[in-house]
């Protein structure tokens, strides 16, 4: 447990979702040593999370086959908690010190959670969260599920839940129907997306899709039993076993920030080769802009080639990337969160779930830092990953600090890493 493992790679990739896998494979093409680190027990990220039934998409198997045949060294269950110049510190069973020549960050995104009364009840989950649990083995057959939030993700989750045998009671979309229709039309006009949309519509047939609709409160004794929704200004209550909420994705930029990478409008700023403001550090996938699977793959490939000085190969993919970037631009403006959602939390609704800090204790402060110091908001184990984006949405606060360790780690890991980092800093 106390020993520290040392690894050295020409190219280290953090995050084994589609962007990271594509980046690692592209980098490995040049014959250099490539390490692919991920904090999950298996590679695949969220979208390609290992799945029992409901079939892993065939596109994924092609990439996994390539990965298995490649020389890429996969380091699973490794939580990166510190970054210094040219090296990373991670924790798995033991502490791991990783030194690298080039670094590719493919840290993905997480869900934005909006506080409302009852959101802390067991079985109220993220939409992506529920999907992740089903992919991790949770049996939801026959369970009644309400899915709330916004954008295409909740539709995908609804279709998936139904396929796995759940009874999807309804989909609550906060956007209005005309806005939804405009979005659908724009997506249909993009070649390749129309077939996807048609098949999704088929999978969702018969499931009520309520627009102008959101959860107001969840109720239950020890777990959610019903949800009150607002629809066109009217409220009604629906019984359910799970409430899955998905209000946008937010990029995981903590590690890029710790590496010193500049951000542009909340996302990691990159040049055309996916290189960040720090030479030798690249970024691909959702941290550079929420754009989905295809864009993540091509950005990953570009980063992998660029990191191994194969500019020609990287350049060759620029046009493909530009095509997929259209989706980003459409998604960016299609589903703005409505101001009514800021009023869902009552004074006693918890905003910080780690430290159980209610809305009323936060609202008396002028900013995130003051709120943290006075209430311990954002100072629990998740380190503000859940409540800081919520506070940003609710109060308009700028959240600006990131410090090591990026995740809570064992003292033995800190102790094992400390002398090495100190010597190099």
């Amino acid at each position: 447990m106390d020993s520290v493992k040392h690894l050295r790679f020409d190219v280290a990739v953090v995050g084994a979702g589609p962007a990271g896998i594509a980046a690692a494979l592209a980098a490995a093409d040049s014959g250099c040593s490539v390490g692919l680190l991920d904090d999950n027990p298996a590679a695949g990220g969220q979208i390609w999370r290992a799945t029992h039934d409901c079939a892993r998409p065939s596109a994924a198997s092609i990439w996994f086959d390539r990965l298995n045949k490649s020389a890429v060294q996969i380091v699973r269950g490794a939580h990166v908690f510190h970054a210094a110049k040219g090296e990373l510190a991670a924790e798995s069973d033991s502490a791991i010190q990783i030194s690298y020549g080039k670094l590719i960050l493919a840290t993905g995104a997480r869900e934005l959670f909006l506080p409302f009364p009852g959101w802390t009840l067991p079985n109220v989950m993220g939409a992506g969260g529920l999907q992740a649990f089903v992919k991790s083995g949770l049996d939801i057959s026959g369970r009644r599920i309400v899915i709330a939030g916004t954008g295409p993700l909740i539709l995908v989750v609804a279709a998936y839940a139904r396929k796995c045998g759940a009874k999807v009671i309804g989909i609550c979309e906060q956007t209005t129907r005309p806005k939804m229709a405009r979005f659908a039309l724009k997506m249909m006009l993009i070649w390749g997306k129309s077939a996807e949309a048609m098949s999704l519509a088929y999978d969702l047939r018969g499931i009520p899709h309520w627009t102008d609709c959101w959860p107001v409160a969840a109720f239950g004794n020890r777990r959610v039993e019903s949800v009150r929704i607002s629809r066109h200004g009217q409220t009604g209550e629906i019984e359910c076993d799970y409430l899955a909420c998905g209000f946008h994705l937010i990029p995981n930029v903590e590690l890029p920030r710790m590496c010193g990478c500049h951000l542009r409008e909340d996302f990691v700023a990159v040049d055309e080769y996916q290189q960040t403001s720090i030479p030798g550090i690249f970024c691909a996938g959702e941290p550079t802009g929420i754009g989905g699977l295809e864009l993540a793959l091509v950005e990953g490939e570009i980063a992998g080639y660029a990191a191994t000085n194969w500019e020609d190969r990287a350049k060759h993919l620029f046009a493909k990337r530009a095509r997929h970037q259209k989706v980003v631009r459409i998604l960016q403006h299609a589903f703005p969160l409505r101001p009514e959602l800021k009023n869902l939390a009552r004074p006693d609704t918890l905003v910080c779930r780690c430290e159980d800090v209610p809305h009323e204790r936060l609202s008396e402060h002028r900013g995130w830092r003051a709120a943290k110091l006075h209430t311990r908001c954002g100072m629990g184990p998740c380190q503000g990953r859940i409540c800081a984006p919520a506070a940003e949405f609710l109060f308009g606060w700028q959240i600006d600090s990131v410090r090591p360790p990026l995740f809570p780690v064992r003292c033995s890991s800190l102790a094992a890493i400390a002398p090495h980092s100190a010597a190099r800093n």
Partner: protein, 81 residues
């Protein structure tokens, strides 16, 4: 075909599909993962290792994120929700 695996959650035998996460075993057992600092029962929110709501003790080691650990035969899981 995936095979099943048995673990204990608060002493109760729970059988899940092989490859399931510990969080799934806790959910399947009907237990909740942890008690919050003010004593509320909590269960997983994010499913991807960021929210820390799924913390349980696994084979005596506390504060493990159960969504990030796979079930192993005869694992002892303590969920204090």
């Amino acid at each position: 075909m995936s095979e099943s695996i048995s673990v204990r959650v608060n002493g109760k035998l729970v059988t899940v599909r092989d490859g399931s996460s510990v969080a799934v075993a806790v959910l399947a057992s009907g237990a909740t993962c942890r008690a919050s600092v003010t004593g509320q029962p909590r269960s997983p929110l994010c499913g991807m290792g960021t929210c820390f709501e799924c913390r349980v003790a696994i084979n005596g080691e506390p504060q493990r994120r159960s969504c990030q650990v796979l079930c192993e035969a005869n694992m002892e899981i303590e969920a204090n929700g």
